[in-house]
Structures are given as structure tokens and as C-alpha cells.
């Protein structure tokens, strides 16, 4: 087990002291790999990386936020937050989870930055105000803007966790007095070009964070991202596409109001304002904090679209979602059935065949009548 004992800063990464056996450790890593959507074999490479002491140094910054994302993270159990921060990552700075305070905490931040320049993961929770030079949010006498610039410019990768960090969140919706903006926008303003992963959500699902962080440290790369910087493995599909209530939508069965017959029967919540049809997220398959059904639609509340800038905090919660480009199932009847139009060639051929038949018929009938006439004539001659 010596390989597990080599830790950073003289701290044991795992072993009996932390109460984690090798078996349990591998279990944790396997779960982490599973939450990334990686095959089980990749769990071994994660385990190897972690065992080698390659725990990613994580610096977690809090700005304008409610700490909901951290709270969500604290409640995961596969792996639990204790295993996470003691075994899988080296959480070097986190204002909520710190035992240290004041200068000690600030020192930790600076030593983490100087020890792992260009390697550490900078996680940002919360939006950053820009109005009045950002005086609305200060930590240790410095504005969020300054801290972001310093920590962000030396980071290996930046993860914006939660909707606030991703685009500004609730603070950024009108009238936005502090000028709250998301991390990608701020970095662009400051001219810092670092890879940024956004994990919008209110809160973000902690497993999506774990997946990104562990993939970065073990495989050395970030997951594939969509145009808004969101990992495809988590934000590649619409909530609507994998919603357990989808069958009710397809049959037109909607809960009309909260508590009615349809609502209690688990009908589709679209009419109550569900934003599932326009919201990219994996909540419907990866519920929050391992509690089965712990996601809005699971508890009978319409999806509020918290991962989408165009929906959350801008479209009222109980207003039905606008679906600009719906994706009809192939089972829908098409407006114009795919009947092949008649080509000029086929029309011509058909005409020729029809004409020939008509002509032939005419000739046959003529022949018959003339034959009959002649017979009559003959009969007449015989009779005469």
C-alpha cells in the first residue's frame, strides 16, 4: 500500500488514517469514472493517477453566489465529499470548507498557486461584478476582478461551476445593478485565453464537476464541449429528450395545475411552465446527490431551465417554454406525403400506352362490326 501513502505536502492521500481501504478507494474511483461516462477500465487509470499522487490541486473561488453549488457538492456520496477532498483532489483553497481563516487562508491560496503554476484547476463559483470597477464583491480587500485575473491567468484549466459563474446567473438578470458577468466573459475582457468549462445549473450537479475535474487530471484533457463551453457528456441532450414523463407529453396529457388529478398522476409538466424542451442538462438521468428522484421534475415541479441563459431568471418560472425549432419524431405524418411526382417521361409513356390501347380497341371493334355486316350480307344472299 506504499504507493497510496505518497502524498503531497507530507499528507497521506489514503490508507487507514483516512479510513479508506484500497478496495473502497477503487470503488470510489470506479464511481468517479462512471460519472464521467468512461468505461470501467478507465477507472484503473484514474486510480493509478491518483495513487501516484497526481491529485489535482483545486483552488475554489467564491464570488457573487449563494454557495448552493458547494452545498450540493457536500451531499454527494459516490464518492462522498470527504473522499473527494482527501483522496481524489487536493482542495487547496475553498472558503466554505477551510478550517483556516484570515492571513492563513490567503497564504494557502498563494502557496497553491506558486507550487502548481499552470497546472491547478481553478473553480469559480459565483458571478463577477464589473460596475464601479467591481467594488461590489471583495475578498481580502481585493475585488473579484483582480482575484480572477491573478488566479485565472496561472490556472491549467478553469471550471465555472453553477449558472452564476457560467453567465452571471440570477444576479445578471435585469436590472443587474452590480454588472454581474460570468467567468467566460470576464476572461475575455481580461484577455486571458485559458480553457474554460462551464457547468451551469442552479446548483450544478456535483457529478458533472467531478467528472470534468478527474478527467482533466487523469487523461490530461478536458471533455468535449459545446459552443457554450458545457461538457457534451452532461449537456449534450435536452432534459425533454430523456424525461421520464415524455410519454405523457407525446400523448398530450398535461397537468393543468399543481395538485390536480393529472399532476398527481405524474403527467407532463409542460403546461405548468416546464423548460425541459429547451434545456440542455443531464438531471433527468443523473439525479442530485444520489437521492432517487431528487431533481425538479422528479418531485413534480417543472424544470426551470437553470442551465440555459435564455431561460433561467429571464422567462418566468410558470410561463410555457417557447420551442423555436421543435424536433418532431419521425412518427409524425409529414405535411406532404412523399409521393413521387409524375415525371414528364412517365406521363409520355403512360400516354403512349393508353393511346395504343385505345387505338387497338377501336380497330378491334371496327373489325367485329365489319365481320358482322358481312355475315349479315351473306345470310341475306343465302336467304334470297
Amino acid at each position: 500500500m506504499t504507493e497510496f501513502e505518497a502524498g503531497k505536502n507530507g499528507r497521506k492521500t489514503t490508507g487507514r488514517r483516512a479510513g479508506v481501504e484500497r478496495r473502497d478507494f477503487l470503488k470510489i474511483v470506479t464511481m468517479a469514472a462512471a460519472s464521467l461516462g468512461l468505461p470501467a477500465a478507465e477507472a484503473a487509470s484514474i486510480a493509478k493517477g491518483v495513487a501516484k499522487g497526481l491529485k489535482p490541486s483545486v483552488i475554489w473561488l467564491h464570488f457573487q453566489e449563494c454557495t448552493g453549488c458547494t452545498e450540493s457538492l457536500l451531499r454527494v456520496s459516490h464518492p462522498g465529499v470527504a473522499e473527494l477532498i482527501l483522496d481524489l483532489v487536493s482542495l487547496d483553497y475553498h472558503e466554505t470548507l477551510f478550517a483556516a481563516a484570515g492571513y492563513q487562508a490567503e497564504d494557502a491560496l498563494h502557496s497553491a498557486m506558486s507550487q502548481n503554476p499552470g497546472k491547478y484547476i481553478c473553480v469559480v463559483e459565483g458571478s463577477i461584478p464589473v460596475n464601479e470597477n467591481g467594488i461590489y464583491c471583495k475578498v481580502a480587500g481585493r475585488t473579484a476582478l483582480d482575484i480572477m485575473k491573478e488566479v485565472g491567468s496561472n490556472a491549467g484549466a478553469i471550471i465555472a461551476i453553477g449558472s452564476c459563474a457560467s453567465w452571471g446567473g440570477v444576479q445578471s438578470s435585469g436590472p443587474n445593478p452590480t454588472g454581474a458577468k460570468g467567468v467566460p466573459e470576464i476572461l475575455k475582457m481580461q484577455g486571458i485565453s485559458k480553457p474554460v468549462v462551464t457547468l451551469p445549473g442552479c446548483p450544478a450537479n456535483a457529478y458533472n464537476f467531478l467528472g470534468v475535474a478527474l478527467q482533466y487530471v487523469t487523461l490530461g484533457k478536458l471533455p468535449s464541449l459545446d459552443a457554450l463551453g458545457r461538457p457534451m457528456f452532461a449537456y449534450g441532450r435536452l432534459v425533454h429528450s430523456v424525461c421520464p414523463r415524455r410519454a405523457h407529453f407525446n400523448e398530450g396529457r398535461f397537468a393543468q395545475k399543481f395538485g390536480d388529478e393529472g399532476h398527481r398522476s405524474g403527467y407532463c409538466l409542460y403546461k405548468l411552465g416546464c423548460k425541459g424542451p429547451v434545456t440542455h442538462a443531464n438531471c433527468s438521468v443523473q439525479h442530485f446527490d444520489d437521492v432517487v428522484g431528487a431533481w425538479p421534475i422528479g418531485i413534480g415541479h417543472p424544470c426551470v431551465g437553470c442551465t440555459e441563459k435564455s431561460q433561467a431568471f429571464t422567462v418566468p418560472m410558470f410561463t410555457t417554454a417557447d420551442i423555436p425549432n421543435p424536433q418532431p419524431s419521425w412518427l409524425f405524418p409529414p405535411v406532404n406525403p412523399n409521393r413521387a411526382p409524375m415525371s414528364p417521361m412517365s406521363t409520355g409513356v403512360g400516354g403512349l400506352v393508353g393511346g395504343a390501347l385505345l387505338g387497338a380497341g377501336l380497330m378491334v371493334s371496327k373489325k367485329i362490326t365489319s365481320a358482322a355486316k358481312e355475315e349479315k350480307k351473306e345470310e341475306g344472299e343465302h336467304g334470297a
Partner: protein
């Protein structure tokens, strides 16, 4: 065969144009009845949930469609004796759309004009409804309808003509038509015709980027009490609504009929021609017998 309607219609149209192009302005533009109600369908709002189809079947007691695709139960593909309204899909890169089809409740309906017995008539609120006690089952209504709406119960021993009647029995009780009642997004709304028209134009004005700049049914085919709005880059023909022009459909019918009998020239020449043929045959027979 389905396409016959259109071809026949074209023939009638061509004949009518040739025979009686002069009297085009004779027909007055019809006005909707003063109490006219209608439906406004907004394709930009429709989410394709088929709630209207289900509700329509329920309130109208329509049997399940025995002809369906892929082994699906009751999955109508087009209007039929089993479905008075059907939601269809239009596929186009970046601009998919749904469209709900049902009777358009024309202001001057072709079916009413074609119905020799008066079984189909515009009744309360201008809804075109069918009276079974008068119907003789000629199905002229189905042939003449430019929207292919009235359907015949081919499988029944005592067949009816099935078409949307704007839920006339429900409306008489003060309720909403089923499709408008259940629509989760007010893609289909029921109301006074004049209000709906105003509402439609308001939508076009407030969100010009969202809509195709036209209210289908305001003038088309002489005007219909069911109005349509489409997405900016999807035309109404894409949605399967025919380009009818602004003249009421029965006008063409009337032009053809009146044109044929104008001055009684056509009947006289027809009978004259037939007489000539008969006379010649008689004289020929006489010669033969002689």
C-alpha cells in the same frame, strides 16, 4: 383515389376560366356572419404534443383508426372518418414546424355550395356542420373541398360524413371547442372571428421576425374562419395549405355552371349535334333497308 379532387378541381378551374372569365367580378366578396367564431392556429407556438387530437377524439367519440403505420395503435396520418384533426410535421433544416389540420370553416364554403340537399350548412357562429337527415351520401362535398376535409365512413353500413364542426354541441353549451380547450400553449385559440383576426395582426406587428408576414385565411379562398400563422421561414404552402387566391371557391363553380348555360348556347348546340347524328343514322338505315 385521393389526388382526384385536386385534378378535377383544376379541370373545373380551367374550364371555368375559359368559359366565363368575364364575370369574375360579379361575385361579391362574402362577409362572415355577424356572430362568427373561429380558431386561430399559431404554428410558432405549437409543440406537437397532439393534445388536441386526443381531446377531439374524446369529445367526438371517434373510433380508433384501424389503418396506422408501424403497428402503432390509433395513429392517424391524415384527416379521416376517425380523425377530425391531425397534427402533421414539416421538416426543414433549422425550421421544423408542426401544423394542425381540420375544417377551415370557410366563409363561403365549397362544400355547402356543392351540397344539393343542404345537409352541409353554415349554422350557429358560422360553423359548417353536417345534418345526417338530409345527406344522400353523394360525397360531392369531399370532392369539392380545397382543403380535403369532409371524410366518408367507407367502412360503415350507415355511413356518415365526418368533419370538424368546431365542436358545435359544446359551443352551444357554452364550452370551448376541445382542441382550443386543451392546448397547453394556446397555439389554437377559439374566439370571435374579428377578435382573432385583430389578434393575429397584432402578433405579426409585435414580432415581425417570428412570423411569416401573412394571416392565412384572412382572404384565402374568400376567407376562412380558421386562421393560420406560420414561422418566418416556413410558407403556408410548406404547411400544406393550398394557394387558393382570394376568390371564394364556389365562385369558380358558379362561373362554370353559369357559363355553360349562358344564352342556352351549350345545351342547344349539344342537342343540335345529337339530332344531326340521329337523323343521319335513320336515313342510313332507310337506305339499307330499301
Amino acid at each position: 383515389m385521393e389526388p382526384n379532387r385536386r385534378t378535377l378541381f383544376k379541370m373545373i378551374g380551367a374550364a371555368g376560366a375559359a368559359v366565363a372569365a368575364r364575370s369574375a367580378s360579379a361575385h361579391e366578396t362574402p362577409a362572415p356572419p355577424p356572430d362568427a367564431a373561429g380558431l386561430l392556429y399559431d404554428a410558432t407556438r405549437c409543440i406537437g404534443c397532439k393534445a388536441c387530437m386526443v381531446a377531439c377524439k374524446e369529445v367526438n367519440n371517434l373510433a380508433s383508426d384501424p389503418v396506422s403505420r408501424g403497428g402503432l395503435y390509433d395513429d392517424p396520418v391524415t384527416l379521416s372518418a376517425y380523425a377530425k384533426t391531425v397534427v402533421k410535421a414539416y421538416w426543414k433544416e433549422g425550421a421544423n414546424a408542426y401544423v394542425k389540420s381540420q375544417c377551415m370553416h370557410c366563409i363561403d364554403p365549397a362544400c355547402v355550395n356543392a351540397c344539393m340537399m343542404g345537409a352541409l350548412q353554415k349554422r350557429a357562429h358560422g360553423a359548417v356542420t353536417w345534418d345526417g337527415s338530409r345527406c344522400i351520401g353523394c360525397r360531392y362535398c369531399a370532392v369539392v373541398c380545397p382543403f380535403d376535409v369532409p371524410k366518408f365512413e367507407w367502412a360503415s353500413a350507415f355511413p356518415k360524413v365526418v368533419k370538424c364542426e368546431m365542436c358545435a354541441p359544446l359551443v352551444a353549451k357554452g364550452e370551448l371547442p376541445a382542441c382550443a380547450r386543451v392546448c397547453p400553449r394556446q397555439a389554437t385559440v377559439y374566439g370571435k372571428y374579428t377578435d382573432l383576426l385583430k389578434d393575429a395582426h397584432n402578433r405579426l406587428k409585435t414580432e415581425p421576425d417570428r412570423y411569416f408576414p401573412k394571416v392565412y385565411g384572412e382572404h384565402d379562398g374568400g376567407g376562412t374562419q380558421v386562421l393560420y400563422l406560420s414561422k418566418a421561414d416556413v410558407s403556408f404552402q410548406d404547411l400544406g395549405l393550398p394557394a387558393l387566391g382570394d376568390d371564394p371557391v364556389p365562385q369558380t363553380q358558379q362561373q362554370v355552371q353559369e357559363g355553360i348555360y349562358r344564352g342556352f348556347i351549350a345545351p342547344i348546340s349539344l342537342y343540335a349535334g345529337m339530332s344531326v347524328v340521329l337523323w343521319r343514322r335513320r336515313t342510313q338505315k332507310k337506305e339499307e333497308n330499301a
